[in-house]
């Protein structure tokens, strides 16, 4: 990269956006001729679950945009060409900034390795006549085979690996055969309107469907006496007078779940074939309802955080979720999820496990109910809770114990301090 002219043109590339690939550009905030400062948002992407604002890595004048609305981009894709004046305060900035925007060394290794799998790279791969004949013999289309040979050549072993993969595939992807759904002419029966699902709904829908079909769900139910928590919560919020985020029931549920996960480590796990991956960290996802669909941002290290901190974080995440500003990393790494319908209503429901997690806690609406204390009925605030769990990893006894732990902590939150 030479610096010959006073004004230098520089192409900027899409910085790392996590594991997302082929993300559509939904908004472009600049046009050629605009003066853009470092960190100004230039384009907006809508990934699987969130909107990603892409900041400018440089200060300068936009010469040309290399993307348009609807373009699908991945990390490292050229986005725009800027003209950078040498008079800019930090002269060497362009180069430094440029390298910053390139794929970062650590994270994208997997992305780079995975990249050749798809796209035109595979169909351009070369196979020698003997490999072509061998593929024909086995009925393999070479376009679908991933080459591993030097210079992108398809080797005989690659054809074998492809066939082995295809033979193994049906066993793991399941043999569920159902009749195709019939088409209905709804308009015959009255007026209708067609509303496309949002991208978030489409993507979460397919994950939910996959999890529902592939994970053997069982749901346990219990009731927690949250009378004391509720009065404590109201008192604390009164004291704070808005100085900090309100303590919510969800914060208590997240904290109680985190402590239960510490006590029952098999619930803080993921299934990898025949191996259980036990996690030494406790990150709890919290389902957030947004106008565009359901999102599950994650509160990290819930076991080590105080209620105020957790409540603050949940408030921030929920706010960003509703505004479509969650970063993909905000939704990664969850160990367990909490879904609360307490603000809406209901007496109980069976949540779908957010795989690869193995359990999820659902909470319905707390209601004042009479409870027998041994001598008389007392009015107590009772919260119905449910726990859906993966029967491949857990069993009914373990589930009853886990849910019991949650209920006990909620019933007497002093346990959380133990």
């Amino acid at each position: 990269m030479e610096t010959v002219a006073l004004v230098e043109r520089q192409t900027i590339y899409l910085p790392t956006i996590g594991d997302y690939k082929d993300v559509p550009v939904v908004e472009i905030l600049v046009k050629p001729g605009d003066t853009v400062s470092f960190e100004d948002t230039i384009i907006v992407l809508e990934s699987d679950k969130a909107t990603i604002e892409v900041p400018s890595p440089v200060s300068g004048t936009l010469v040309e945009l290399l993307v348009e609305i609807g373009s699908r981009v991945s990390e490292g894709a050229p986005i725009a060409i800027f003209e950078i004046s040498e008079k800019a305060p930090a002269a060497p900035q362009p180069e430094a900034a440029a390298s910053e925007t390139r794929p970062v060394a650590a994270a994208p290794a997997a992305v780079e390795a995975a990249a050749p799998v798809t796209g035109s790279a595979a169909s351009k791969a070369h196979a020698s006549p003997s490999v072509r004949a061998y593929a024909r013999e086995l009925g393999v289309s070479l376009d679908e085979v991933q080459p591993t040979g030097r210079k992108g050549r398809i080797m005989r072993e690659d054809v074998q690996a492809y066939v082995k993969g295809r033979i193994a595939a049906p066993a793991s992807s399941g043999g569920i055969a159902v009749a195709p759904a019939p088409a209905y002419d709804f308009a015959r029966y009255g007026e209708i309107e067609r509303v496309p699902l949002t991208r978030i709904q489409q993507i979460s829908g397919s994950s939910l469907h996959r999890n529902w079909v592939t994970v053997p769900h069982v749901t346990n139910f219990d009731e927690a006496d949250v009378t004391d928590i509720e009065s404590f919560r109201v008192a604390m919020n009164g004291e704070a007078k808005g100085a900090r985020a309100k303590l919510t029931m969800v914060a208590f549920l997240a904290k109680a779940s985190a402590l239960a996960l510490k006590e029952h480590p098999r619930f803080n796990a993921s299934l990898e074939g025949d191996t259980l991956v036990l996690k030494k960290y406790v990150h709890v996802g919290v389902a957030v309802d947004t106008p565009k669909g359901l999102l599950v941002p994650v509160v990290r290290d819930c076991d080590r955080k105080g209620l105020n901190e957790i409540a603050e974080e949940i408030a921030g995440l929920a706010e960003r979720a509703r505004n479509g500003k969650l970063a993909p990393s905000d939704m990664e790494g969850g160990c367990f999820s909490v879904s609360s319908l307490g603000g809406v209503g209901g007496t109980g429901f069976t949540p779908i496990i957010n795989a690869p997690e193995v359990a999820i806690l659902g909470a319905a609406r707390a209601q004042m109910q009479p409870r027998w204390d041994g001598t008389a009925f007392q009015p107590r605030l009772i919260l119905p809770v449910s726990l859906s769990w993966d029967h491949r990893v857990l069993d009914g006894v373990a589930a009853a114990r886990f849910l019991g732990t949650v209920v006990k902590i909620l019933g007497d939150f002093r346990r959380a301090a133990l």
Binding site: H126, P129, A133, G152
Partner: protein
């Protein structure tokens, strides 16, 4: 007469047909091979590639002997014994056809001599020389009926007007000869007759000789061959030919003067023989004699295959052989497919021109970005020692993938060396693969490795290229 139902019947005993029949027999099928001539080998062996090569070899040796006078050895004037030359041609052919007949016997391929026509989707009628028709029933059939020279309808019926078959008979050595068609066959026969003493006129409808070959190669050839020709009439139509006792008077458009010739060769192309087979009886159709097939060489009838000239261009024996093998293997229940990347071509003229895959002209036309490595034989010690410093080797590499896409050579033995380029393309070699393969020195084949080095910019047998930049 023949009530037996053959497992496989092959129509045509040319290179494609006999290869299909032999391959099928080797795979355990019961095979009959129908050929109208007494000998196997078809046009290629009997009246095409092989006899023409025998004559070209003799003509080239004679011209080489004459050229040697400049290099210190003088022979006397050449004496032509036409009968002995015909005998050499005949011996070459009969040795090969005899070998084929023996191999057919060893494989228990049943030979039927006669003209075949379909009488139904599973039966052929074969008419022998005496006019007797017999029925041959089959489960499967491979059509390898080949092609025939195109005869221009306006030419008079005169023994002095011949096609390639007639020219190979060497009826006599004309003083002045007209070749109609500037393609491979026309120029090969022009080379033979010129070598034996004839002066040649060529008339060609298109704007250049040897269509499909890069112009730089053709340019070298024309430079080396201008002495053979009185006129090379390009973009010119032959308007009429009048037979007179003194000779054949040919008239042309494009302002060329009429001329009288002793012999006229029609080499205006070949026409596929699909129309001679009563295809409709088998539920098949032809398109101008061509029969449509899929990549397994199957026609619209799943039990009938077609291969070779009758399925399309290029009409080359080596293509037919490979297609014949595929058809035989598929007929025998194997999963074969005809899917070569390239089919090579050779013009056995002097100097020989051989090319395969993408040409520079085609790359330019289709906007394919290539890196070209050229090695002029003027920089090859062996070529200079052999008096072949005019030759050229050229390789075309994809700028996108680096792989070899095509190559061309002109010079003695170019066709014999082309196989390396074909193999490199089929194996997906790039310039480094070829350039770093050690080629024996000093040879003409070495120029292939050197052309690859030229493409890489690492050739030390060429002057430095000051503006050759490493790729960004």
């Amino acid at each position: 007469m023949n009530t037996e139902i053959m497992e496989l019947v092959v129509i045509g005993g040319g290179p494609g047909g006999y290869s299909a029949a032999f391959r099928a027999a080797d795979l355990g099928m019961q095979v009959a091979l129908i050929e109208r001539e007494e000998t196997l080998g078809g046009v290629c062996l009997n009246v095409g590639c092989i006899p023409s090569k025998a004559l070209l070899h003799v003509a080239a040796a004679k011209e080489e002997a004459e050229r040697l006078s400049k290099h210190g050895i003088r022979f006397g004037a050449a004496e032509l014994d036409l009968d002995a030359l015909r005998a050499f041609r005949h011996d070459t052919v009969s040795r090969l056809t005899g070998g084929l007949a023996q191999m057919a016997r060893q494989r228990k391929v049943q030979r039927i001599i006669g003209n075949a026509r379909f009488a139904g989707p599973n039966v052929l009628h074969v008419e022998d020389r005496a006019g007797n028709v017999s029925a041959v029933s089959f489960q499967m059939c491979i059509i390898a009926a080949g092609s025939s020279p195109i005869h221009l309808p306006f030419l008079p019926d005169d023994p002095r007007i011949v096609d390639s078959t007639g020219a190979l008979e060497l009826p006599f050595i004309p003083k002045r000869m007209l070749v109609i068609g500037g393609g491979i066959i026309g120029l090969e026969m022009a080379t033979v007759y010129s070598g034996l003493g004839a002066r040649i006129d060529v008339v060609e409808q298109t704007g250049g000789l040897l269509a499909g070959v890069d112009r730089d190669m053709v340019g070298i050839w024309i430079k080396r061959n201008s002495h053979r020709f009185d006129r090379i009439m390009l973009s010119t139509w032959l308007e009429s030919v009048e037979a007179t006792p003194e000779g054949l008077v040919a008239r042309f458009n494009n302002g060329y003067e009429p001329a009288t010739h002793d012999l006229i060769l029609q080499a205006a192309g070949r026409r596929p023989n699909g129309d001679r087979l009563s295809l409709e009886a088998a539920g098949l159709q032809s398109n101008g004699g061509f029969i449509a097939v899929d990549s397994q060489m199957r026609t619209a009838q799943p039990n009938i295959f077609a291969i070779g000239d009758v399925v399309g261009q290029p009409m080359l024996a080596h293509k037919a052989v490979h297609q014949g093998h595929v058809a035989a293997e598929v007929a025998a229940g194997h999963r074969a497919v005809f899917e070569p990347l390239v089919i090579p071509s050779v013009a056995y003229v002097d100097p020989e021109i051989a090319w395969v895959g993408l040409t520079e002209d085609a790359a330019r036309q289709d906007g394919i970005e290539v890196d070209v490595g050229k090695f002029p034989w003027a920089a090859s010690g062996r070529a200079i020692a052999n008096g072949a410093d005019y030759g050229m080797t050229k390789l075309l590499f994809s700028r996108e993938t680096g792989r070899l896409l095509g190559g061309a050579m002109i010079g003695p033995g170019a066709g014999d060396m082309l196989g390396e380029i074909c193999l490199a393309i089929e194996l997906g070699a790039d310039a480094t693969d070829i350039g770093r393969t050690i080629h024996p020195h000093p040879t003409l084949g070495e120029t292939i490795g050197l052309a690859a080095e030229a493409a890489m910019g690492s050739c030390t047998d060429l002057p430095p290229i000051p503006f050759l930049c490493p790729r960004q």
